[in-house]
């Protein structure tokens, strides 16, 4: 069944730099869904990661800025020390509220606010990480009818985050990083069959 999506959200922690390079590096510059990313990062990390990824990927990658409009062909990274949220109307915002799931930026905060705005038109992706951030957020995405993708724990540098996400909700796809860009392309173009298992209450 063809289906249209409005955005992809990605949560990643330990091993994230390499994982993001691989995933984003395999997407074309004209990938038409915006990608919003929380990579766990220290409070004083600066914006080096966005620059590095931007240089190495065809896709445009930037650190999210105040009032950024969410545009296709662009990946937005949450800045250090702020939660990244999605506003209705397709804009980004920040919060300096306390840590959620022991993290700021927190994957759960991004996923929950994106699910609120995009509902079933959202794809949530949980990648490698040594904690459980993102599992509650992925559950919310599923409850609102979105699609959940998790990196195969066997393929992940740290398996806890994918495992926690799989334990929290009935995910649609579990696969190695290598196949993930192709899957996103298929989903984005409406060519992938979407399993509706565990779609939850709407």
């Amino acid at each position: 069944m063809a289906r249209l999506f409005k955005a992809v959200v990605v949560g990643v922690s330990t091993g994230g730099v390499l994982a993001l390079q691989k995933l984003l590096g395999q997407l074309p510059a004209d990938f038409h869904l915006p990608i919003l990313i929380v990579q766990h990062i220290g409070p004083d990390a600066g914006s080096g990661l966005a620059k590095l990824l931007d240089e190495r990927c065809a896709l445009r990658v930037k650190e999210a800025d105040e009032q950024d409009e969410i545009l296709p062909g662009t990946a937005y990274l949450a800045p250090p020390n702020y939660h990244l949220l999605v506003e209705r109307g397709g804009f980004l915002s920040f919060s300096a509220d306390p840590y959620v799931s022991f993290a700021r930026p927190s994957v759960d905060v991004l996923f929950e606010s994106a699910a609120e705005v995009f509902g079933p038109e959202l794809i949530g992706v949980v990648l490698t990480g040594a904690n459980f951030d993102g599992s509650r957020g992925l559950m919310t995405i599923k409850q609102k009818g979105g699609v959940a993708i998790v990196q195969d724990p066997e393929d992940a540098e740290a398996r806890q985050m994918p495992q926690a996400a799989m334990a929290a909700t009935d995910v649609d796809y579990v696969l190695a990083l290598d196949g993930m860009a192709a899957l996103l392309l298929k989903l984005a173009s409406g060519r992938a069959a979407i399993s509706h298992k565990g779609t939850g209450a709407r």
Binding site: D44, Y82, R88, S95, A96, D97, P98
Partner: protein
């Protein structure tokens, strides 16, 4: 209709009711964050839904006050963003020192961590007794805490690291006394700070300031309220005065932007031009 949409309507009605009855206007707060905070408040309350909370909220001031406390608490830390405080020390204080006396407005000071950080910095730079800092917040409960100057001792390790990275010249432990699990800040830090209630959404400016700090407060506001705050800061600041924002807040594409130059680009320290 999805449950999320029902909740959207409930939140809109609740905020409108609060504005009409109590005069506090939260409708210009950015949706995503206020929704998180409201949801958190609701979960901690005795009510199952916002509609259920509404009728009590509009009749019982105590419930309203708990709501305000819940949705306006901003958290920060001493010397948050050490590079910012270092830049203030190295690039702003030399200008401030050319005045016999300076006035500083710290808008949205929350529990006072950054106001006390600034007091430490100014005192170390020899400006003790030569400044007055007006530290304001909408939330009177946090203001009360701020004026007490008592912090959890477990935070002190992190604050000490920040202080050192920010170019602190003394031993951070000299600024507080440990009592059980509390750190009581030294009275010398308090004497030049005036804590006062102020609501950025409705209240007016503070006159003739040399410096205005408002960091990570406007991130919670919609664009129109951000512009209102910036207008307020602009009319409060003397020419040559400094405006300090959070690292994710800029004067780019803002109406007052052309009257300011950025002093330390990534750190959001702006200086108001003369004339």
């Amino acid at each position: 209709m999805q449950s999320g949409e029902v909740e959207d309507v409930e939140i809109r009605l609740l905020l409108e009711g609060v504005q009409r009855i109590y005069g506090y206007d939260f409708r210009d707060y950015a949706d995503a964050s206020i929704r998180r905070r409201l949801t958190h408040w609701l979960a901690e309350s005795e009510f199952a839904t916002f509609s259920q909370a509404q009728s009590r909220l509009l009749r019982d001031r105590g419930v309203f006050e708990s709501l305000v406390r819940g949705i306006t608490v901003n958290v920060t830390e001493m010397f948050r963003d050490p590079a910012f405080f270092r830049a203030v020390r190295e690039q702003v204080v030399p200008f401030l020192k050319t005045y016999p006396f300076v006035k500083i407005w710290h808008a949205g000071c929350a529990t006072g961590e950054e106001a006390y950080s600034m007091a430490i910095l100014l005192n170390e730079e020899g400006m003790a007794g030569r400044y007055r800092m007006y530290a304001t917040d909408i939330n009177e409960t946090v203001l009360q805490k701020a004026s007490e100057g008592v912090m959890p001792i477990m935070e002190m390790q992190r604050f000490t690291r920040n202080y050192q990275k920010a170019g602190g010249r003394a031993s951070f432990a000299d600024y507080y006394t440990a009592r059980y699990d509390r750190a009581i800040l030294s009275a010398t830090l308090k004497k030049d700070i005036v804590f006062a209630p102020h609501n950025l959404a409705v209240d007016g400016e503070f006159g003739e300031m040399n410096m205005v700090l408002c960091r990570n407060v406007m991130i919670y506001f919609k664009p129109a309220l951000k512009e209102r705050c910036l207008r307020l800061f602009d009319s409060s600041l003397l020419p040559g005065g400094f405006l300090c924002l959070g690292l994710k807040e800029t004067l780019e594409k803002k109406k007052i932007g052309e009257r300011y130059e950025e002093l330390a680009p990534p750190l959001r320290i702006y200086r108001k031009r003369y004339g």
